[in-house]
């Protein structure tokens, strides 16, 4: 592949490369650089001070809880769905696949509205929940459910192709050699699909940490009560607290960026070495 690539660069090729790099640089890299600059414009002290306000700390704690919960549930239930799709003769497969992918296509605002219509005061279960004294909408459980919805597809989507690719030969061999089901899963299946699973969990994490619209609708956006980090950033902007907005934005984006890039690099290297 590299042999074809290392030919002399013609002017037309140089122009194409320049155009692509410039577009990417101006559209995406420049604003990222500026955000880092803005976060530290008033010094590292101001940057840190904006992160330890009670509002910011509360927001980071909420985001952490919601992200961990969403990733855990979507992984634990995403795996059986992935197995059902990849390994078995499943009826209504197209529908299952469509339902898994739907959250990717639906606007977060529409997703928020759908859950409001279920568990909100005006929702189907609104009266019943209120009668039982259970708070879901405008509280943490509702925010977790909405985040789970928007981040649902990723584990399934990443694991299914890996399961299809590795096939069942290794598992059958293990079973023939007398391995139990659990043993086969942990010693054969899990290692084979490990990177697909980790990559899916990473995408779930990134999406869960950053979710805004759906959480905004279902949470009621109550300061120091139901504000996650994205909502806190939005609040800081509305209050003209730019340092607060830039500090939290940088930490949130950096966390999600570092996780994604690290995992992606390892994953691609893994895939590359396996294909050679």
């Amino acid at each position: 592949m590299s042999a074809g690539k290392r030919k002399r660069t013609t002017p037309l090729q140089a122009a194409a490369i320049l155009a692509a790099v410039l577009w990417f640089g101006v559209l995406i890299l420049l604003p990222i650089g500026v955000i880092v600059y803005k976060a530290f414009e008033n010094g590292a002290g101001a940057f840190l001070a904006a992160l330890v306000t009670p509002e910011a700390r509360h927001a980071f704690r909420l985001t952490l809880i919601i992200t961990v919960a969403s990733v855990a549930v979507n992984t634990l239930i995403g795996l059986p769905i992935a197995f059902a799709l990849a390994r078995y003769r499943l009826r209504f497969k197209t529908i299952v696949d469509g339902l898994v992918n739907l959250p990717l296509a639906v606007s977060p605002i529409v997703a928020g509205l759908m859950f409001l219509l279920l568990v909100g005061r005006i929702g189907w279960f609104g009266d019943a929940l209120e009668g039982a004294g259970i708070k879901i909408a405008f509280a943490l459980p509702g925010m977790i459910i909405a985040t789970m919805f928007v981040s649902l597809p990723f584990v399934v989507r990443e694991v299914v192709p890996v399961l299809e690719e590795v096939g069942t030969e290794g598992e059958e061999a293990a079973a023939t050699l007398g391995a139990g089901r659990l043993q086969t899963f942990f010693r054969v299946t899990l290692p084979a699909m490990r990177w697909g699973l980790i990559y899916g969990m990473t995408l779930t994490t990134a999406r869960a940490m950053g979710e805004f619209g759906a959480v905004m609708i279902i949470s009621g956006n109550i300061i120091r009560k139901t504000q996650t980090v994205p909502l806190h950033i939005n609040q800081a902007l509305a209050d003209f607290d730019y340092q607060g907005a830039y500090s939290s934005a940088l930490v949130l984006a950096a966390a999600s960026f570092v996780i994604l890039i690290v995992v992606q690099t390892i994953y691609q290297r893994k895939k590359g070495s396996e294909n050679e």
């Binding site: 037309l12 990222i32 469509g98 898994v100 639906v106 950033i233 960026f257």
Partner: protein, 290 residues
């Protein structure tokens, strides 16, 4: 890459369909149980609520000029974003796959950054450069160019958010495409333009459309970045999801519902379209592999 290990499993439908066992009850129950509660139930809830209110009632909300404006604006900016993405995304994929240049690897690794950046942060990114207090704010004000709290800002935010889709759809197809055909066309005397439109482009079309569909779907529903960049100004910057948000906040459920149903139906159509294109593309790639 194009060689054997994948080809044995690349047609699982055909070869192993008979071998596949039926699903164990536990898997079947957890799959349908979870998807029913998490996805199906909310869908049914919004549809039933829409029927409760009544189709005629919902249709009459479309007389609201703000609602019509928001839907039209959403369709216009989404189309604009898709057109730009198709060109820049295909170019980027091409450059990344076919040419070698300093920084290629880094650029390739960074293409997905917009997926990692939370949508509100994307909005803030645009503000930090083009906003009134942004680094280019003074220059833009002097030139009296209105970017934030106006349509250009919306389009910029959407371009960032949707940037990876076309690149990542086209890239794998380009990687398995054979440059020999292009060289043959050139040797046979075809001009560059002819080679591009007759030889290079046709096999890429399904994957470009796939990226376009994903971009369009994402742009239709985008909320966080655009509300930060463009605010919520009716008849000026209010997009469909922002309109729905404003209606929910002020308790006008009918119009929120009506526009949500429209967006939802468009998302479903895009999803079906995407699945069809995906099948076409993977079949094409298997053809190349075999």
């Amino acid at each position: 890459m194009a060689s054997s290990p994948k080809s044995s499993t690349s047609s699982p439908q055909a070869s192993s369909a008979e071998k596949k066992r039926s699903v164990p009850l536990s898997l079947l129950l957890s799959t349908w149980g979870f998807l029913s509660i998490m996805v199906l139930l909310p869908l049914v809830a919004i549809m039933v609520r829409a029927l409760d209110v009544g189709p005629l009632e919902l249709l009459s909300t479309f007389k609201n000029p703000q609602m019509l404006f928001s839907l039209r604006l959403t369709l216009i900016v989404s189309t604009a974003v898709v057109v730009v993405n198709v060109v820049t995304g295909t170019l980027t994929a091409w450059v990344l796959v076919r040419y070698d240049f300093p920084g290629r690897r880094i650029m390739n690794a960074l293409i997905d950054v917009p997926f990692a950046v939370p949508t509100v942060v994307t909005g803030l990114m645009v503000l930090s450069v083009y906003g009134p207090k942004g680094v280019l704010g003074d220059i833009l004000a002097k030139a009296s160019l209105e970017i934030v709290f106006a349509k250009p800002g919306i389009i910029l935010a959407l371009l960032i958010v949707t940037f990876p889709f076309v690149v990542r759809s086209v890239q794998p197809v380009l990687m398995v495409a054979d440059p020999a055909a292009e060289e043959a066309a050139a040797t046979l005397g075809a001009s560059r333009l002819t080679t591009f439109f007759r030889v290079i482009l046709p096999p890429l079309v399904p994957s470009i459309l796939m990226g376009a569909a994903l971009s369009f779907g994402r742009a239709l529903g985008e909320f966080g970045s655009v509300i930060v960049v463009a605010g919520n100004i009716p008849m000026k910057t209010q997009l469909a999801p922002v309109f729905i948000y404003a209606q929910i906040e002020s308790g006008f459920m009918e119009s929120a519902l009506a526009l949500s149903i429209v967006l939802l139906l468009m998302s479903m159509i895009i999803l079906v379209l995407f699945k069809v294109l995906e099948r076409v593309t993977s079949r094409g790639m298997q053809g190349v592999r075999a």
